[in-house]
Amino acid sequence: MKNYIAKFILNILVAWLFFLPGCSSEKNEESTEKTFTIGIMPKLVGVDFFNSVEKGALEAGKELGVKVIYDGPVTNDVTRQVAMIETWIARKFDAICVAPNDPDAIAPVLQKAKQRGIIVIAYDADTTPEVRDYFVNQATYDAIARSLVDIMAEGIGPKGKYLFLTGSLTASNQNIWMDHMEKYRAEKYPEMINLSETPKASEEDQALALQTTIDILKAYPQMEGLYGMTSVALPGAAEAIRKTNAQDKVFLTGLSTPNAMRPFVKVGIVEEFVLWDPGDLGYLTIQAACAVLQKTVTETATSFTAGRLGEIQISNNEFLLGDPVTFNAENIDNYNF
């Protein structure tokens, strides 16, 4: 008996669920003054780098009077990014800006967004060019590669032995940088030696970067230089070098944020490292999205004025932020991110 009652109630619930959508009155709200809603998604939330992207993005949103929504997955997980973008499509955002964790896995959902007339902009890392409208390029791959290799060559000499510590092995940005670095290194410093063809992975996890570096130090006693290729890998590696007192043996450089690296630069574990300003990157991304939405940037445009950043170049559907910044003990206190 109890069973029948339960089944009966269940049936009503299910029927009601299907009935529910029919009850909703579809309102057609077309206000005359439309505020654009722009979503900007990091690879993951809760790291210095993307925190400053958020600051810059919100700053630009305030200046331009558009609604900026910043959110992303708590781990560098592309499936979560895809699920969230699906929701952003359903919420009818006007533009979606994303730093993809995987260039190809994110492509189908971005294509879907584009088909629905949403402006799609990739920043920080690119996706397949067909599925996005624009890419905001934080610094050309070549410029970054040259700065990093030159710093390393100065640190360990033109015959030094070095290794790469990257984020995840599939992170497209890091892989392209390392390609460019290896090419540039082969041309300019042919006698420098890369000790491992595959870079060591640290999965955007500082504790793992620390442990991996300690392991590397044991496995490659001949190593003289180490690149930390992500904003998390470099401080992790620096911490490992501080713990093992290896600063005289290993020259460390790479890409990270001044806040994360300040203690290590002050005590000389890291002398110089490279990055673009992520605050500017977030700022430019929103400026660009807004310009595209307002149609001040069209297919043929070669430059536009992006608020406080001034004139920004556009080529091949890419916005170019400019040269990277090299941080050292002298200038590091001028930055807070």
Binding site: L10, G46, A90, P108
Partner: protein, 323 residues
């Protein structure tokens, strides 16, 4: 005392249905995008892999076992299919079939180690989780395989059938079929009955001549095969076979099973409950996404739901004995 799937209906599953209903009601009232069935059905594509694997996982957990390697198996199957398709030039359906087979083999390895070598399932699958993931990484040289034709994304990503706003994605239908099958197996067949007996009391089951070892082998192999099926959908959804695919999938699967009322120590289990668990977690996530609740707060809420469900399980399990 052994309970089959339908005996629970009056208490446990009704409570879950009510919870699901309340979630839908809450988000339905507060968010017009949630009310649109198109969005909800479209979103269901994201639960399919979890839901599919949760079905054999329910049976495994009902026996008191667990399979932590499912995420890694999904990744390995995808990579193997991808390599067969891209490097060996196998036709796509055949490559996928081969992937499913690999899943079955992985599952059989789990089952063999558990039953014949008498290693606890937790330890076995913790180890194979690393092994299978490592194989996926190694075979692909940690490079995703991207040569799949875009049409497969259309199949798993866009194509649906139905009318108007009620568009059922292909893979959601597959999930529904699998859930129905799982319900029948657990509540109506000897396999289901034996699973519950093993979980309830292993020694008693052995005395009752339940073929415990064969059951383990069967269940883990089935789980591997289903992982292979899920990997086809996963690969199709992204048109990419990723060696890091489905990382952490096992935890979401187990969370759904636990929410569904299957005790982690075994002895009872309900596939319908598990399916409700999938629906609850899925709609909760979807609703929170639509409301714009930040991801960092979402995980807190989801953790709380799992704790609540587990507490309820213990309460429900203890109550009859006090009478």
């Amino acid at each position: 005392m052994i309970k089959s799937g339908f005996a629970f209906l009056a208490s446990r599953q009704l409570a879950l249905s009510l919870l699901f209903f309340l979630i839908c009601l809450f988000f339905g009232l507060t968010n017009e995008n949630f009310r649109n069935p198109f969005n909800l059905l479209d979103r269901s594509r994201h639960w399919v892999e979890i839901g599919m694997i949760a079905v054999p996982m329910t049976l495994i957990i009902a026996t008191g076992g667990i399979d932590l390697s499912v995420g890694s198996i999904v990744a390995l199957c995808g990579i193997v299919s991808g390599l067969m398709f891209e490097k060996m030039g196998m036709p796509l359906p055949l490559a996928f079939a081969f992937g499913v087979l690999v899943g079955g083999v992985c599952g059989a390895i789990n089952g063999f180690i558990c039953s014949r070598l008498r290693v606890p399932a937790l330890v076995t699958t913790l180890a194979t989780m690393a092994v299978f993931r490592g194989l996926a990484m190694g075979l692909s040289r940690a490079d995703p395989i991207r040569g799949f034709p875009r049409e497969i994304t259309d199949w798993a990503g866009m194509s649906t059938f139905g009318w108007g706003n009620f568009q059922l994605p292909h893979q959601t239908l597959l999930l529904l079929i699998l859930v129905a099958l799982g319900m029948i197996v657990l509540s109506k067949t000897v396999v289901g009955r034996w699973s519950l007996q093993i979980g309830e009391n292993l020694k008693a089951a052995k005395f009752a001549t339940v073929p415990v070892d064969k059951m383990h082998l069967l269940l883990y192999t089935t789980c591997g095969l289903v992982c292979g099926l899920a990997s086809i959908i996963y690969t199709a959804r992204f048109a990419t076979a990723h060696p890091a695919a489905a990382k952490g999938l096992e935890l979401e699967v187990i969370a759904c099973v636990v929410i569904g009322g299957t005790r982690i120590t075994g002895g009872n289990g309900s596939v319908l409950g598990t399916f409700l668990g999938v629906l609850i977690l899925g709609t909760l996530r979807f609703g929170m996404d639509l409301e714009g609740i930040l991801q960092r707060y979402q995980i807190v809420l989801i953790g709380l739901v799992v704790v609540l469900a587990a507490t309820m399980n213990e309460y429900v399990a203890r109550r009859p004995r006090q009478k």
